[in-house]
Amino acid sequence: MSRPRLCLLGLSHKTAPVALRERMAFRAEDIPRALRRLIGAEHCREAVILSTCNRVELYGVGIAPDEGLGKRLRAFLAEFHGVPEAEMSTALYERHDADAAEHLFEVAASIDSQILGETEILAQAKEAFRLAGEAEAVGPVLRAAFERAFHMAKEIRAETGIGKSHASVSSAAVQLVQKVFDDFASHQVLLIGTGEMAQGIVRALRELGAQELWVASRTLERAEAFAHTEGGKACQISDLPAYLARVDIVLVSTAAPYFVIRHEHLKDALPKRHGRPLFVIDISVPRNVDPESNKLNDVFLYDIDDLEEVAREGRAQREQAAALSRPRLADEARLLFNELVLVQPGMTAKQLLAQAEALRKEELAKLGGAGLNEAALKELERALERFQGRLLHAPLAVLKEAARQGDGEEAAQWIARLFRLQIEAAKEDMKSEANPATPPSRPLPIPAPERKEA
């Protein structure tokens, strides 16, 4: 098997506590400098740094198949952050080649995230890739790996719907309210109590378009302070019956040990609502809304247990989607790496053909002054072409087959040695031909072996 080329070194919420993660995190303004150092001093051909609150990952590509790259990345990480290697070694994970690509795919598809299916990580991975591109640290291997990761993340999200179900109590509340209302701009919200979770739900409702927010609390001052922060209006809790006839969404989150909204409150409000649904979320413990109220027509009442049930179902769905996606991402990573390994055989084949072509032309040029007429020269040229084709057929066929089997790099090295090919020179030619900003996203094809029969 070929030696490792792509190397991932990282730590995440699964392996490291937040205290270590925050010490190892790269600030956005430090990333270009770190990338330049990786490319320069650490002999990486390519590098990307992905640094978020939940993970720090370095993706590096060696100049040649390189077993020492992982060690150098560890040393770099320790030195850059001034953290002794021993302190972080147990939290670090290292992956190579297809395994590294598989990990990247899982990260981008949010299958390795703390909250499965969250969307932020994909944007963060894209940003990391963009920063590396700007620092000219991205080449064909990482470009292919990241672009495929972004593509796969999109596909997995669309096919499994991993991000659709709601995994937290707040988002479950928002999911339920969206089952009743659609045009949030035309509905008023009443918030009773000013807890942190209620604040999260209010903000989510605001994002959906809710404009009119009424806030009631134990004291008017408290309600006013909250209303000021969230852009609502304060109201007296004694006016509750009037507001129940007016608003469509009620969110209750107080520490009161009794029912703040009683069955009678809602029963009295209903005739004035003319059949408009009233959505009530009670996230207080003990409950602040009489559970009997759910029996009233057009009242939809959910307490913290209901919301937790929706969130639990959402999490289970996400886990199921993640489990379904993992084998597919692993297959795709192996496929990608096989394709990447084909780059070397492609270059070898190209060089072999070019070398044979040059030799043939050189020999023909020598015969130019040997007194042969034009017809004889043409005939000789054709004979040499046929000879070249038949001679190179076997090595090219072997190379192609080896590339298909995943051993292309090794076969290419043998052929290069046998025919004394200048592979490194060809690589440099390729590098200068292709702008590093836009390297080929697909490996070079191996030319079909010539079969020019006489």
Partner: protein, 280 residues
């Protein structure tokens, strides 16, 4: 291609639509409304072509036989569903409307076709195509509103009982369903008014006394009145949500009653059917 072939093609497209909705319950990727929109659109297009071919071939636009009635009703239903699917991505309504369409087209396939062109005075009226088209499109929209209301009541039941399963996940919001039912009712009411007015003009022209007291006409008028009350109630905010949905269900029941009373499967002879009221 014959009209029959076009309608069979439409049947296939609607059956594909039903299969897509059922498969969408299990496979997330099949829940996108795009493919369903395409299948329904092709179904409606095939039916439109079928109606066009039928009019050309039979030199008739009377649509009074059982087969023709099923064709027109399923076409109007297909159009109604296509409209709500395109406007509000109301995929789940297809679970009700597309199977109805498949049944209607299957029944059409086994029903007697059109007879000779009628000689009655009403049948020769210029208003007849307007009357028939507006009546059937009105019925189509009322039945689409019925589907939205039925889904509304079912979703409301799931929410009240806190059954947060796969069925609830695939449904649109109650407000969206209420809005779709209301808009379809309004549009249906407008078309139905046109149908009633043109029908009355034609009936008066043939000088049939007290045509408005026939049971089918009374049922039609009751349907129109019910949807008028609903439209006004909704516009004033006094008839929304669950009550409005129940009203629409009652309206749909009246539509079905009108069909049972009026329809030519009870009156095989074509000239008799067009006498007085052609489509109703």
């Amino acid at each position: 291609m014959t009209a029959e072939t076009f309608f069979l093609l439409a049947l296939v497209f609607y059956a594909v639509g039903v299969a897509l909705i059922l498969a969408g319950l299990r496979v997330e990727a099949l829940r996108s409304p795009g493919v369903l929109l395409l299948a329904t659109g092709l179904g409606v297009a095939a039916q439109t072509a079928g109606i066009g071919v039928h009019c050309t071939q039979s030199a008739s636009h009377f649509f009074t036989s059982s087969q023709e009635t099923y064709w027109l009703l399923s076409w109007a239903l297909g159009l109604g569903y296509l409209a709500v699917l395109a406007a509000w991505k109301m995929r789940p309504l297809g679970a009700l409307l597309l199977p109805i369409n498949v049944v209607l087209l299957t029944m059409a396939h086994f029903s007697p076709g059109a007879g000779a062109a009628p000689a009655s005075e009403a049948a020769n009226s210029q208003l007849l195509p307007v009357h028939i088209l507006s009546a059937f499109l009105g019925y189509g929209l009322f039945l689409t509103a019925f589907a939205a209301s039925a889904v509304y009541l079912q979703e409301q039941r799931l929410l009240k009982r806190k059954l947060f399963g796969v069925l609830l996940r695939g449904l649109p919001s109650l407000e969206k369903l209420d809005r779709a039912a209301n808009r379809c009712s309004w549009a249906g009411l407008l078309l139905f008014t046109v149908a009633l007015v043109t029908g009355a003009i034609m009936a008066n022209a043939v000088d049939k006394p007290q045509w408005f007291l026939q049971p089918k006409i009374l049922a039609t008028e009751a349907t129109w009145l019910l949807f008028l009350v609903l439209a006004i109630g909704h516009a004033t905010g006094r008839l929304v949500g669950r009550s409005a949905a129940r009203f629409v269900l009652a309206g749909a029941a009246l539509v079905m009653l009108t069909f049972v009373i009026a329809h030519p499967f009870r009156e095989p002879a074509l000239p008799a059917a067009v006498e007085g009221k052609a489509a109703l």
